[in-house]
Symmetry: C2
């Protein structure tokens, strides 16, 4: 199985969370993907691992609490989500955002009385009302140099009842309407992958990304010099077997297959 990957040792793993460890569902914790709990446990024992998510509906703490309820054993410091990274980004650049976020991450962003010089967009879900989207648009139109920061740019994610439109679509809507500049904080931004590698302590060449999003996870990681494995769980679509833009290094049924095939092969060497 491992033969489809480019040669060279794999020292570190970056794992997407939603659609790889579990499938999300509205109003509940979601459903653990079969084999993923054991796969994470094996990674913690035999390799280096970090969890690189574009989740922007809950704090890292809540994400970890949910994963724990779903049966996973992992460290909060190993989980990377874009909201706290964005909070640092804003501080470093003296940016004062108009916020359109899920209430679950608003604690990262203290309210400010300063006039907004950017819009910060998260996966606001039901907060993506016409009124709220229009207020974000109007905030952009008031800026001399309209700037949109988005916590990822995913097309959709998979919920148990079907695919669900994601933040990237709303970022496109605001870009089209306002002509703003757009900065992505999250996958597939190279800065976000670099942040994760720094945490992992591995180079891109010796790291593999495993995800369910062929653009943000697989394509983004490959552009950054990593090998990348597409899993057939989460938002996976059959038509991606022959995707026009991205060719994963490997396509496997689920996380457990990816982890076991790589670690088994390394043990044989």
């Amino acid at each position: 199985m491992n033969r489809f990957l480019r040669p060279g040792p794999i020292r570190g793993f970056l794992l997407d969370i939603t659609g790889v460890l579990y499938n999300s569902a509205e109003g509940s914790d979601g459903i653990t993907i079969s084999g993923s709990v054991d796969a994470v446990n094996r990674l913690y024992k035999e390799s280096r691992v970090r969890f690189l998510s574009n989740e922007s509906t809950h704090t890292t703490e809540k994400v970890v609490a949910k994963l724990t309820r779903l049966g996973f054993t992992l460290q909060q410091s190993d989980v990377i989500t874009p909201a706290p990274v964005a909070a640092d980004y804003l501080k470093e650049r003296d940016l004062h955002p108009h916020l359109l976020l899920h209430p679950g991450v608003s604690s990262y962003f203290p309210t400010s009385s300063r006039e907004a010089n950017c819009v910060l967009l998260g996966d606001a879900e039901h907060e993506f009302s016409f009124h709220n989207v229009n207020m974000a648009f109007r905030a952009l139109m008031k800026m001399k140099r309209p700037l949109l920061l988005s916590l990822g740019q995913g097309r959709f994610y998979q919920q148990t009842d079907g695919p669900t439109i994601d933040i990237g679509a709303y970022a496109e809507a605001l870009k089209y309407a306002s002509g703003c500049e757009h900065v992505v904080i999250g996958k597939p931004s190279p800065e976000y992958f670099q942040y994760a590698l720094d945490q992992l302590g591995c180079s891109s060449e010796e790291t593999v990304m495993i995800g369910d999003d062929i653009i943000s996870d697989v394509g983004g990681a490959q552009k950054f010099g990593m090998r990348a494995i597409q899993v057939r769980t989460g938002k996976w679509r059959n038509e991606w077997e022959k995707h026009p833009i991205v060719s994963p290094d490997l396509i496997v049924d689920c996380l457990a297959v990816a982890v076991n095939s790589i670690l088994d092969a390394q043990q044989k060497q």
Copy 2:
């Protein structure tokens, strides 16, 4: 003033409505733009005129009733809006839409029990909830060849309290998320301009379009071989004086200036 237009007689006028005849306001009829009532009256006396709108929140009948309340005298048969044109388009092609529309135009589209083979998007305004947008996205994802029809593709329109995000932004969101094909029924689609010229009984060369949207009105009409005048009312933005893509044949303060300068010049000849 007329000297900025390409030479050649002007026999017909196409007028955008919102932002040219009046400025819209949420919850009221809006405000008549100064001089436009007289300009329309003069056009009816001295030339040929049709009203070509991308309005998709009310039936043509309601649009005319509102304009009448605002002081205009015009014929309902002279007003073209995209919803009834779209209804014919669907019938001719045996298309069964999933609807995401303003309730004001739903009467054009009888409900059907057939499985949707396209999504029809209007300026749904407050109906653009996350739930409704996601349902339209899911409908597209179920189609073998996802097809989106939108009643125009405007970036924004001007309300009395500020610019307001328009249907084109939501069309971009759905395209980005689903990868669907997109057909525009409304300006700047060439078919829609041709439909208007057929009603007007003029060729594109002898017709001038007057509008406040530099892309949909001015750019669209110019691509179709018309001369096009940008008015500094409605959604007009100062930065459009040097727009990177579209150079209007003429930029004037308002409809009355455009109409009077052209008709005065013709009388002198």
